[in-house]
Structures are given as structure tokens and as C-alpha cells.
Point group: C2
Chain length 167, copies 2
DNA sequence: TTGTCTGCAAACACTTTGCACTTTT
DNA sequence: AAAAGTGCAAAGTGTTTGCAGACAA
């Protein structure tokens, strides 16, 4: 975690997430606390989508994060989104986070049965968003495309067991 | 609301929303109650996006819906989504509904400052979703594309007053 | 030392549920 | 009469906040 230049996916970045977060905090007169470090590091070490409760539970399983509190986790997640480290999306009623920093822009396929998320990217979508925003005099800040449906696994098990779809 | 063939936007449909809902309810052995009728009619009479609390408040202002209860509103909205009359999306922490029945597929520009929603449609987006789903062996059921940013109004007022962006 | 952060408990907003009573069928 | 629906109040979720003590700068 001490490297000055590392790569994730196909994009190379200059600072580790931890460093970038520190930079962000300092720029705002916020403090680099043990808790915030533990949280960024933990989040940076795993690359999947997660929600606040999951993160909290995971943290409490580690020695460093054993005493993590819910409010701090929520507060820090918000800061990480502000810092551009994470992206937040709302699925099935709760906030789901994913890495943003150093990751290429992408969208999602969402299985409404098992809640699985599959990533994909499309330059066309990007282009369409820009064009539409311009047409409406919008300053675009990002977009979110979620194609929902049934994944291959759930499609086959669908006939056997009954599931509750949650959007 | 008694016509058998009316048009909304550019699409003509055979049944009024009320009729379609009745059909849906009957098909499921559910009952056509006064409350459900009042709610469908009210929703059908307004074409904007709304949330459950707004609808409840609006209903209570009408003679017919004066005694509307929160649970019934929530329950009926869910049924209307199931019936294909409404679409639901989650923005800034709460569920927002819009008409689905008889309306052409479209996506949204979302102003993160004033929460305004602007609709647009794009056949290309449609095509991309289908293609991507196929690639991942997904059975697509729909998609949601939200381009977020600042609308023209908020862009100009942004420098004067401070706003809180909510995603 | 100064001002931010943390953790706790309590508050929150939105939504759902248990239940006795009312209504549709 | 039987079954489903309603409204009330209460319980849930997921998330946020007030505050006293803890801690980085």
C-alpha cells in the first residue's frame, strides 16, 4: 500500500486511495484519524460492491476496525464519495458503494432476483449522455445506467422457487 | 375518463388506466375497492412524477380521497407498479413514481440541486441495453438511465446560494 | 490548546406490518 | 357468508444527529 504508482483495472493513478483521501481531508481542514484510515484501507483492499452495514460488519471482524461505530462508517462513506473515491447508487432500498477512483467508468446489469451486479462499459452511452445534457442546457456530472432483469442463474432457478423482486 | 380509446403522448391505448387496473385486479382475485379507484383516477389525472407522501397529501385535499390512509396508498402504488401502470425509481432517498402505461419509454436528466426531472428518449440506449443484456445472458426487464447534473436554472443560481446535492 | 472526531443513544424519514373491523364478491 | 381490504397504531429499515468525552493538529 506504499507504492506511489499503482494500477487498477486499466487506469494508472498516482496516489493510493489512502493518500488521495488524506489529501482531500487536509484540503478541507479535516483530520486524518485512525478510524478514517482503517476504513479507507479496508475499502481499498476489497473491490466488490458493498453497503454500509456490510462494511461495518467486515470491519468489526478485523483487529484494527473492531470498535468501528455505525455513525463513523456512514460519515466516512459520505466523505469518500465526496472525495471521489467511491460512487454510491441506491438499489433495493439501500445505498450500495463501489470504487470510483482509478476505475474506468462503467454501468451495471442488475439482477432483481439475487441482487447481483455485473459491470459493463459503453462509450456510446457516454456519448449519448453528453449530447442529451447539452440539448437541455444541463451541466452533466455523471450518469447511471442500470439494466435490470434476471441473470442466467436466476432465470433457471426461477421456475422452481419463488423469489421476491426488489427494485 | 370513460373513453375506450384515448391517447397520451404519442401512444394510443385501448383501456383507461382505471380499466386496466380493474382488469389486473380481477385477474388476481383482488377487489375493485373505492379506495383503489380513487387512487388510480387521481394518479391518472396528473402526469408528473410524484412520491407516496405527495400523493397522500394530494388525495386528502380531494373530497373522494379525504380519508385516504398511508398504508393503502403505499399498497396501491405497489399494485399499480405490478400492473404496469406506474414505474418506480429511487431518488434522494425516496421512491418516485411516474406513468408507465401508454407512455413511451424514456430516460431522465436529474438536477441534483433542485431535484427536477427532465425526460428524454433515445432509441440508441434501448439498443445498447438489449445488446449488453444478451452478451451477459441476462433476460432484460427494463433499464434506467439517469444523467445527473445541474439544470440551467441551478447553474446560474449556484454561485449565489449554496445548495446541498442529494443523489 | 483548539477545534474536530468519535461513539453512544436517540431521532429520523420512509415504508411495512399486525390486527380488528369494514367491504366487496 | 367468505375472503380480501382498510385504517390505525406500532414496528421496521436504513441513515442521521446531538452531545460529552477523546483525539489530531
Amino acid at each position: 500500500m506504499a507504492s506511489v504508482d499503482f494500477s487498477l483495472g486499466s487506469v494508472a493513478v498516482a496516489l493510493t486511495p489512502r493518500e488521495r483521501f488524506a489529501e482531500f481531508l487536509q484540503a478541507r481542514g479535516k483530520r486524518i484519524t485512525r478510524q478514517r484510515q482503517v476504513i479507507v484501507d479496508h475499502v481499498a483492499s476489497r473491490h466488490e460492491h458493498f453497503d454500509a452495514e456490510q462494511l461495518l460488519a467486515d470491519l468489526r471482524r478485523t483487529p484494527a476496525g473492531a470498535g468501528a461505530s455505525r455513525p463513523t462508517v456512514y460519515r466516512t462513506l459520505t466523505e469518500m464519495v465526496d472525495a471521489g473515491l467511491l460512487k454510491k447508487m441506491v438499489l433495493a432500498g439501500r445505498s450500495v458503494y463501489e470504487h470510483d477512483y482509478g476505475y474506468p467508468q462503467h454501468d451495471h446489469l442488475h439482477c432483481t432476483s439475487c441482487q447481483k451486479l455485473i459491470e459493463f462499459s459503453s462509450a456510446e452511452v457516454e456519448a449519448i449522455c453528453g449530447a442529451v445534457a447539452a440539448q437541455h442546457k444541463f451541466v452533466p456530472r455523471g450518469h447511471r445506467l442500470i439494466v435490470s432483469g434476471l441473470c442466467a442463474d436466476c432465470r433457471s432457478s426461477r421456475s422452481r422457487s419463488r423469489h421476491q423482486d426488489r427494485v
